[in-house]
């Protein structure tokens, strides 16, 4: 095995007095001192949120204003800390969204339990639940920390949709009933 012998030079007299190194250190700290600070003045300045940030989980509408959640409860079952509770509800036949399977009657996320893991977003077949940019979640009571359905839609807003899955399904079903295949 090749061995490299490193020659350890004895310290020179000047080095043993520490003084050159102390001066070098003082120069470094002084340069640091006159540099602008790195601090973000938080409540006035807000951090830039990187793409793919996992903030507070929210429910979203599609651009037509339809709530996307169909209360399949996959997120409820996958949620590791069991923070999500969904009460499924029917959609009446006379409603414009009657072609959609179901919708949640109540949807609650307990933010004291949520661990921001993002599994709910990953598992959702309807792309209805998203962990968006909100990073600050505070409240004075435990009840305040539970986001109900209205609050979840308010936080989520509307996100663009590429599929319009239920509209396609509806027009396909209509085409089939008029005799075409599919």
């Amino acid at each position: 095995m090749a061995t490299i012998t490193v020659e350890r030079k004895p310290l020179s007299f000047l080095e043993r007095t520490y003084i050159p190194n102390i001066v070098a250190g003082l120069t470094t700290t002084f340069k640091r001192m006159i540099k602008p600070t790195e601090t973000l003045q938080y409540p006035e300045q807000r951090p830039a949120i990187p793409l793919g940030y996992r903030g507070v989980p929210t429910l979203v509408n599609d651009p037509h204003g339809r709530e996307k959640c169909v209360s399949c409860q996959l997120c409820e079952f996958v949620c590791p800390p069991k923070a999500i509770r969904i009460t499924p509800g029917e959609i009446a036949d006379d409603e414009p969204n009657a072609h959609v399977e179901k919708r949640p009657k109540a949807f609650e996320i307990d933010m004291l339990r949520c661990i921001y893991c993002g599994l709910c977003q990953e598992v959702c077949p309807e792309e209805a639940i998203f962990l968006q940019n909100q990073y600050s979640m505070t409240g004075f009571t435990r009840a305040e920390m539970v986001n109900d359905k209205d609050r979840l839609y308010e936080l989520g807003g509307t996100l663009p949709d590429q599929h319009y899955k239920w509209d396609k399904k509806k027009s396909a079903a209509e085409a089939a009933s008029h005799g075409g295949h599919h």
């Binding site: 250190g25 470094t28 001192m33 600070t37 601090t39 003045q41």
Partner: protein, 394 residues
């Protein structure tokens, strides 16, 4: 203009002067704690305390400058230390436990009496002008008195460590005594060359600090030279010993936050704790003041330019500069600027150097600084003798 003042009884004037000096020194020492926080913050790339402001003052335009400097935070801290509960632990020796912070304050505030902080021209009865120091007690023992009183400060630390009746404070107290005794020797030896230099044999000897500044304000190359250029080794040894004597990093053995919790003040809280710290900062201020007087020409603006030169030059344009009050304030400002730089230097070094281990502190004190200061003393004793014998007119 101020004749009525000099008609007052002497004791009353002395009490008044002493009170005023303490009323300046105490808040100045307290303000050092904010300076410490701000400078440490800046060196670490943070802004430091900059949020506190009483809401009823927030409307004043430009007040944010004071707010950003953390001065309201300082007031809040002071208020907190004054009013918070001050518990005395059950197993301490109560009398000495309470005595210790008081003992820490007394030497810290009394050493200032021997430190001149400015000078002015006093017109004598025959019309000539004499440079007079602004000082509480212009005694001939001067520096000796400062050393004698300031070394009493260590008793407060030992007492605090012992009275706390607990392991860490005790270790801190023991370390404090060992460290301060070791470094006092080299500190005293390092300044002897100055007094060998200024006290010519046969003449009247003095240890007065005012006299030290006067000898740095003479005419000529050697006369106007600050002693830091004439005796750099003395200045270095004195400065290092000063760091040790004021328990500053890298010599913070009595406190040893990293291995002794808080050292001698572990059991202290609230106002008593803050007294220890005001005392430490007061020591720093007085110590930096003495360094400036001994090695940096006191209130002289530049080497080879004395305060008298500056005032005589300035009075050519603006005669009021030579007035005692203006000249005194000018001298005090120049002196405080130098002291302020050293306070900054203390804090700057704190965030630059890692702290020494206990054995390294002892090694440096006994094996490096003490021989160095003795060699320095012998060198200057010989050099001054040679100069006096062969080059008396240099």
């Amino acid at each position: 203009m101020f004749d009525f003042y000099f008609d007052l009884p002497l004791w009353f004037r002395l009490v008044l002067q002493g009170t005023i000096v303490i009323l300046v020194l105490f808040p100045l020492a307290a303000a050092c704690s904010m300076a410490e926080r701000k400078i440490s913050a800046w060196i670490q790339g943070r802004p430091g305390p900059n949020r506190t402001i009483p809401p009823f003052l927030a409307w004043i335009p430009g007040i944010n400058i004071i707010r950003n400097l953390g001065l309201f935070q300082l007031a809040a801290d002071g208020g907190k230390f004054t009013f918070k509960e001050d518990p005395v632990p059950g197993n301490v020796n109560k009398f000495y436990f309470i005595l210790a912070p008081i003992l820490a304050m007394i030497p810290a505030l009394s050493t200032i009496s021997f430190v001149p902080f400015g000078a002015y021209f006093k017109t004598l009865a025959d019309g000539t002008r004499e440079l007079t120091p602004i000082i509480l007690a212009n005694t001939d023992v001067g520096l000796l008195a400062v050393f004698a009183v300031s070394s009493l400060g260590v008793y407060a630390l030992i007492l605090a460590g012992w009275a706390s009746n607990s392991k860490y404070p005790f270790l801190g107290g023991v370390r404090a005594s060992a460290q301060l005794i070791s470094y006092e020797l080299s500190m005293t030896l390092s300044i002897l060359p100055i007094f060998l230099w200024i006290n010519a044999p046969g003449g009247e000897g003095t240890l007065s600090l005012f006299n030290v500044v006067q000898t740095q304000s003479q005419v000529g190359f050697l006369g106007g030279m600050w002693y830091i250029f004439l005796m750099p080794v003395s200045a270095l040894v004195f400065l290092v010993a000063l760091f040790a004597e004021t328990n500053r990093q890298p010599f913070d053995m009595p406190e040893s936050e990293s291995d002794l919790v808080g050292g001698f003040h572990t059991e202290y809280g609230a106002f008593k704790w803050s007294l220890f710290f005001v005392a430490e900062y007061a020591h720093m201020i007085v110590g930096s003041g003495i360094f400036c007087l001994l090695f940096l020409g006191g209130w002289n603006p530049l080497p080879w330019v004395s305060l008298a030169d500056l005032v005589n030059f300035g009075a050519g344009f603006l005669p009021i500069i030579a007035a005692p009050l203006v000249m005194g304030l000018l001298a005090i400002t120049l002196f405080l600027l130098k002291v302020g730089f050293f306070i900054f230097f203390f804090m700057w070094v704190r965030w630059t150097l890692p702290r020494f281990r206990y054995d390294q502190v002892m090694n440096l004190g006994w094996k490096k600084l003490l021989p160095l200061s003795i060699a320095n003393l012998i060198f200057y004793a010989v050099a001054i003798a040679v100069k006096d014998l062969y080059f008396p007119n240099l």
